[in-house]
Amino acid sequence: MSTNAGTRPAPGSSRWGSVPSRPVRRHPLASGTPIAYLAALLVIGVTVVPLLFVVVGGFRTSAQINADPAGLPSPWIWSNYSGILTSGTFWRFLGNSALIAAVATSVAVGCGSMAAYALSRYTFKGREALYGLFTVGLLFPLGVATLPLYLLLRQIGLLENPFGVAIPEAAFSLPATIVILRPFMRAIPGELEDAAVLDGSSKLGFFVRILLPLSRPALTTVAILAFVTSWNAYLLPLLVFNEQNHFTLPLGVATFQSQYSQDTARVLAFTALSMLPALGFLAIAERRIVGGLTGAVKG
């Protein structure tokens, strides 16, 4: 270890000590140059235009959209958005979705990180087989398992119950969580673990106090993935819930669709509003992806 013996190295500090600063010749593709900005602009353009279509579409009527897909609202219709925001049903759907997503995410990340830790930093007989077993869960599309899953949920009485959606969602998010977390956890230097043990910590203590904070980028990533998967889930909530009060947001969209018509404008308004919480979660979480092992020197 290159740090002083006897003191515990702070998480995130550099393994290579400090590097003398010296002006470096700027390369054309370095940050802040015009080419980088141009590339960024192109990326935004292609990504954002369909998204703008959703947001702006909410300010039009379906007839406007149908007459001129690419046009701007004329006149601007506020009633789609305001109607949705003032209706109790939207907030109820939002609350249901949020509760289910929160439970699914915490369960998936909690159980998944523990399992990933065991699978990455312990050795035991059957470890790779167990890891393989979890990977197998990735390979079966959820849609097929829903019929037996529905029967199972009915058996244990979890229908019409948000946990009947959240727990299976967590279970199906486990494989991806473990698959992503394991290499990250493995890459944490063993020296840290040795130091922790030297300080008298147990392996579990190391897990909670050192490994988890260090794994924040990976943990945040899997949390986002689990959250978004749950947020957009459609088939499982469809089967579990019959009463409209329990619906989640994707099911709520269907309330604007009937057999013979589709209120496109309201669907778009509803969608735009539904995206906001998930994006909000990302905005908060995104800052935590950057961090972790990056050096304290450059700041």
């Binding site: 007839a63 959209i65 149908n66 029967l151 469809l238 409209q244 057999q259 013979y260």
Partner: protein, 430 residues
């Protein structure tokens, strides 16, 4: 390790057996008739107005007249029905009243043992509804009651016909083809079709079959599922000749039927195409797609043209309807409620609110739109209404038919293959 595997296998097998056993249907014992308060769970597909309000009002009115019957209404979006019904019918608490489209689907659902046989309870008044009610029978027994009916025909734009110099709608296929040519010469799209969704394609094959085959042959087909009469092949050949005239819009294979302005319904509503073969629901579909409803006055409707040499009765129409079934847990209140839905009062509202064509002829006068009145008049004079085959046949066979016809529209397959798809699927092939 081996020991763990065995016990896991045992546990798995036990669970499988458990769930299979619990999912198998209980006996179809009739529910005890309740004289006390009853709550009926009602599943329908009216997630938006006008249907949603209509059914709510209907439930309230019935509750006012029968205070010990209340309702729990769950509107379920149409496409979700096909997913939820098999699951609901497996459980011990299916909805008491649920939407039923009859035909082969009804026959499949009966095997769950959960549907109430209504024959004796409705025998006194079912004849009021005419021939349509036959679509909700299986093996001669009544398992559902329709509340509206549908008929398929050509919706057309009078203004575009006038532009192309067509004075009267065509009555034979030859006249139709001539009109297509005139529309093309006037640089107009003759026929719009939502081929992406497949079922609009099937309407054409269905109607050619209806024109070529005698009524008896048609009736037999739904039960025997054998299409060996040569009239079926002739229908396919008619379709081939029709497709050869290229009557459809560019890119019709990717056009949806009802979603958005680019849909075939949207094209008719905005005057981008002259004709579409669709059901009476087309009017409500179009209304939701454009801002000004001027187009309604420019619309007309004519029945599918006659085919020279066809053995079919020219007054037979292709159609269907919506209805409801009761499940065995429901009580006599359910049957009484369905009778209420078929009564003149409710039927008049069904007509007036634009929900559909009433199935009770006494309510025909309540239709407001002139084009719908034309459609309704035609259907009441029809000697027989053939249910669209994808509903009349069992679900698997019907879907196989739709797919085969859609493939044919896309240029793959032959008329013989369409027939083959039906017989193959009927005999259990995949």
């Amino acid at each position: 390790m081996r020991r763990i595997r065995t016990s896991a296998a045992v546990a798995l097998a036990a669970m499988v057996a458990f769930t299979a056993a619990c999912s198998s249907s209980g006996g179809s014992s009739p529910a005890a008739s309740a004289t006390g308060p009853v709550t009926l769970t009602w599943w329908h597909n009216g997630t938006t107005d006008p249907v949603k309000t209509l059914w709510q009002q209907t439930a309230d009115a019935y509750h006012a007249a029968h205070p010990n019957v209340s309702f729990t209404i769950d509107p379920i979006q149409n496409e979700q029905f096909t997913t939820k019904i098999p699951l609901a019918l497996q459980g011990s608490t299916p909805p008491d009243v649920y939407q039923q489209w009859g035909g082969g689907q009804l026959t499949s659902q009966i095997t769950s043992g959960k549907l109430m046989d209504l024959t004796s309870s409705v025998s006194s008044w079912i004849s009021e509804l005419g021939a349509t009610a036959a679509g909700w029978q299986a093996g001669g027994k009544q398992y559902g009651i329709p509340y509206d009916q549908h008929v398929v025909g050509f919706w057309y734009r009078k203004d575009l016909f006038a532009q192309a110099g067509i004075t009267a709608p065509p009555t034979t296929m030859d006249e139709f083809n001539a009109d297509v040519a005139k529309l093309k010469a006037a640089k107009l799209v003759p026929v719009a079709i939502g081929s992406k969704d497949r079922w609009p394609d099937a309407f054409y094959w269905d109607y050619f079959a209806v024109r070529e085959c005698s009524t008896d042959t048609l009736k037999q087909a739904s039960t025997s599922l054998k299409l060996d009469d040569p009239c079926w092949t002739r229908a396919g050949n008619d379709l081939k000749a029709f497709l050869a005239t290229s009557p459809f819009q560019t890119g019709f294979l990717g056009t949806p039927a009802q979603q958005g302005a680019g849909s075939s319904a949207g094209m008719i509503a905005s005057g981008k195409a002259a004709m579409e073969l669709q059901g009476d629901w087309e009017l409500s579909t179009m209304t939701g797609l454009v801002s000004n409803t001027d187009f309604k006055s420019k619309l007309g409707w004519f029945p599918f043209p006659a085919v020279t040499g066809g053995a079919g009765d020219p007054s037979v129409a292709l159609g269907g309807g919506d209805g409801y079934s009761c499940t065995t847990k429901a009580t006599a209140a359910c049957v009484d409620f369905l009778k209420y839905l078929a009564s003149t009062d409710v039927q008049k509202k069904v007509a007036a609110d634009g929900v559909g064509l009433p199935v009770n002829p006494a309510a025909d006068s309540a239709l407001t739109d002139p084009t719908l009145q034309t459609v309704s008049a035609y259907s009441s004079k029809a000697s027989y209404i053939q249910m669209y085959f994808d509903i009349a046949f069992p679900t698997a066979v019907g879907q196989a038919l739709d797919t085969a016809v859609a493939d044919f529209f896309a240029g793959t397959g032959t008329p013989a293959k369409i027939i083959q798809s039906v017989t193959n699927s009927a005999s259990g092939g995949k």
